[in-house]
């Protein structure tokens, strides 16, 4: 088969909602049990639910209170819960993470917003040398249930430091959990599960998907936090990705189907730990695997999946595991991002190469 003839923008449609049982009326008396929400609104709704359920849950970050966050993800929370629980902090990422650590020692469950992906590095030391290691240093006597929300990734035409995908740095760090929702349903549930986790969680929000709608079932998440999920079944090539890449993979699968090729699509959901069982089961069926991500390919989450599948499913593979990723350059000026970010065509090009083996 060949790649699509024309370059295609990321699909505007949201992926299918999770297969979850319909909620009963009693599960959500105020709002409909199943509701169409944008990803931003779904995460907002999840944050509100977590704050209502546990008075120890705090929001911290820059512009998250009165403004409601530059992406409006914390919209309305300060008005509802007050400025002691929704903190417009000074503009200092290390300060935000470091004080969140102290608050966690005091029994709080802080949820920190890093305004944009590329602004996380001033807080990197507190995240990797302190937050990630403090449970270990304490030999378990103290837990650090801190969530760090990071709007990440490209497709929004923004200036430098506003479109990056830094998740590999954190997946590489023991002591952190790293997750990324692709759909409003997962956004609603995964943020609550992240807050409920007794470990530090890096929560990567695909900012290009913030305004896409999808059904959110408030009755049940339908899946455990660290599970990956087959979201489209197929037989010939397995494609895996997370966050915004998931919609690209679904788009590629749709195009491929039109050309007679069957792709199985897996939403990774969790980057640390990685849930390999659905990936291995899929590869045992298809014999081919493509890992796609916006992040640069060098020493990335995709690299790790490729290596692990080569180790654990070698005799099932009909072709090498291929990576489709951002290039090993800084994120380019916005007008070049279309050439940098993997789209359906880049995925399908890899599908062609895989099938050629």
């Amino acid at each position: 088969m060949t790649a699509a003839k024309t370059k295609t923008a990321p699909a505007a449609k949201t992926p299918p909602a999770a297969k979850t049982p319909p909620a009963t009326k009693s599960a959500a008396p105020v709002v409909p049990a199943v509701e169409s929400l944008t990803l931003a609104k779904a995460i907002n709704s999840g944050l509100r639910a977590a704050m209502a359920a546990d008075p120890k849950v705090l929001m911290m970050g820059e512009d998250i209170g009165t403004l409601g966050g530059v992406f409006t993800v914390t919209d309305g929370l300060k008005a509802e819960f007050g400025d002691k629980r929704v903190l417009d902090t000074p503009l200092a990422e290390s300060g935000i993470i470091g004080t969140a650590i102290g608050l966690a020692m005091r029994g709080y469950r802080p949820v920190c917003e890093i305004q944009f992906d590329g602004f996380i590095y001033p807080g990197f030391d507190q995240i990797t040398s302190q937050l990630a290691k403090l449970t270990y240093r304490h030999e378990g006597s103290q837990s650090f249930p801190v969530v760090i929300r990071v709007p990440y990734g490209g497709h929004i035409g923004a200036v430098e430091h506003h479109q990056e995908s830094p998740e590999a740095y954190f997946a590489h760090t023991a002591g952190l959990r790293v997750i990324s929702p692709a759909t409003p349903h997962d956004g609603y549930w995964m943020i609550q599960e992240a807050i409920a986790s007794n470990d530090p969680v890096m929560f990567f929000e695909p900012k290009s998907r913030y305004w896409q709608r999808g059904d959110v079932d408030r009755g049940a998440s339908g899946i455990e936090l660290h599970r990956s999920r087959v979201i489209r079944t197929g037989t010939e090539v397995t494609v895996v990705g997370h966050g915004a890449m998931v919609s690209v993979l679904l788009q590629a699968a749709e195009i491929a189907a039109g050309e007679g090729t069957s792709l199985e699509v897996i939403d990774l959901r969790s980057l640390s730990p990685i849930d390999y069982e659905p990936i291995l089961a899929s590869v045992q069926k298809t014999g081919r695997l493509i890992v796609a991500q916006e992040a640069p390919g060098n020493v990335s989450v995709g690299s790790e999946i490729a290596a692990t599948v080569a180790e654990r499913a070698f005799y099932s593979l009909e072709a090498p595991v291929l990576r489709v990723s951002g290039f090993d350059t800084p994120f380019p000026p916005a007008k070049l991002e279309g050439a940098y970010l993997p789209d359906a065509d880049r995925v399908l090009e890899a599908v062609d190469r895989s099938l050629a083996y």
Binding site: P90, G98, I101, L103, R106, D125, R177, N198
Partner: protein, 375 residues
């Protein structure tokens, strides 16, 4: 950089009380100390100095991977450590061994850490709220500030009862003042008016780099631009350390916001057992500070108050006993099982770590032979 006109001294190097306008607000704190507590100050300083020497010896004998001496800084540490109330929380750097001891930490936990058996591992709730050491310079300043914010949110400070209201005391050194985290901690502390005291031990050296490289102005001035009041003290004066810290903590716990103390002291020993200070500092400086030894002047003070030889002899004996006990216990320390490395990486179960722990266990078992030796 040494004493300035601003340096507060309550006890002169000769061991006499300094009574003037500057010390007047602090002398009532000293007057309230009973004889037993005055003895405690001396006892803790002497014991930790003996402990320190013993630990250094053990390092030289290969029993510790590293030792971090506190020689010369006992006055700054003992005074401030005793100023904290039971409900207060203390965030140390990594040299405040005696503060831990005052709060109820068995210093063997520090020995275990520096022998390579743990990364700390003591339980602050069981050690008088003396939190773990932090080796990344200055990082703990933000943890302390966050903790102090939590005290505010919990309503356990500034209630009007200084006997129960809580505050936070955080230690760091002159090198740390250059770290961004310490300035960010000032920003957050001032912004939220946290119940917190920043206690800077300016021991004049960040390993080999003199304090003049960190700051061109006296460090006690550092906080004022952030809106945090400060005082500079003779850090080798245990009474000044006690009184100023007690006052600042009471201000903090009473809702008057954070405070900052710069204690001018001197690291008489090396930075750590891996360091050789003879390569970068001269004998004159050492002599200057030796003449201002915190223990010598405090002993003179106690003797002038009437403390007799018996007390000093008893303390010397107790210090020898503590050191001997530490040596015995150090030599008896075992090595934890390899499985410890996988424990508490996370609080909740983690598939990846669990799988690697199982793998290592099976791998090690594969070497086992019938007689229990490795093949």
């Amino acid at each position: 950089m040494s004493y300035t006109e601003a340096t507060l001294q309550v006890l002169s190097p000769q061991g006499t009380l300094v009574e003037n306008d500057a010390t007047a607000p602090y002398l009532p704190w000293i007057a309230k100390l009973d004889d037993a507590r005055l003895q405690d100050f001396y006892r803790q300083m002497v014991i930790i100095r003996r402990f320190d020497i013993e630990a250094g010896n053990l390092q030289r004998q290969g029993q510790l991977a590293l030792w971090i001496p506190s020689l010369g800084q006992e006055g700054a540490q003992v005074g401030s450590g005793y100023a904290a109330k039971a409900q207060d929380h203390i965030f140390p750097a990594y040299r405040e061994h005696v503060v831990g001891r005052i709060r109820g930490l068995d210093p063997m936990k520090i020995i275990e850490m520096l022998r390579g058996l743990s990364h700390g591992g003591w339980v602050p709730a069981e050690t008088g709220n003396f939190h773990l050491y932090t080796l990344v310079i200055g990082s703990q300043s933000l943890h302390a500030t966050g903790y102090a914010m939590g005290l505010q949110f919990d309503g356990v400070t500034a209630t009007g009862d200084p006997e129960t209201d809580a505050a936070v005391l955080v230690y760091y050194g002159d090198g740390a003042t250059s770290q961004g985290d310490v300035s960010e901690a000032f920003v957050f502390a001032a912004s939220y008016q946290t119940p917190q005291v920043f206690f800077l031990q300016n021991n004049h050296w960040a390993i080999s780099v003199p304090v003049e490289r960190q700051s061109r102005t006296p460090l006690y001035l550092r906080s004022t631009g952030f809106g945090i009041p400060s005082v500079q003290i003779d850090g080798n004066d245990v009474l000044a350390s006690y009184a100023t810290t007690a006052q600042a903590l009471d201000d903090a716990r009473s809702g008057r916001g954070p405070g900052f103390i710069e204690a001018l002291t001197y690291r008489m020993g090396a930075h750590t057992s891996s360091d050789d200070p003879s390569k970068y500092r001269d004998a004159e400086e050492l002599t200057f500070w030796s003449e201002r030894d915190p223990i010598v002047r405090y002993e003179a003070f106690l003797r002038a108050k009437g403390e007799g030889d018996a007390f000093f002899a008893d303390v010397a004996t107790e210090a020898e006993d503590v050191a001997a006990d530490m040596r015995v216990r150090t030599n008896g320390l075992g090595v934890p099982p390899a499985s410890k490395m996988f424990t508490n990486v996370y609080t909740d179960a983690h598939a990846g770590v669990d799988a690697q722990a199982a793998w290592l266990s099976a791998y090690e078992a594969s070497y086992d032979t019938a007689d229990g030796d490795r093949a």
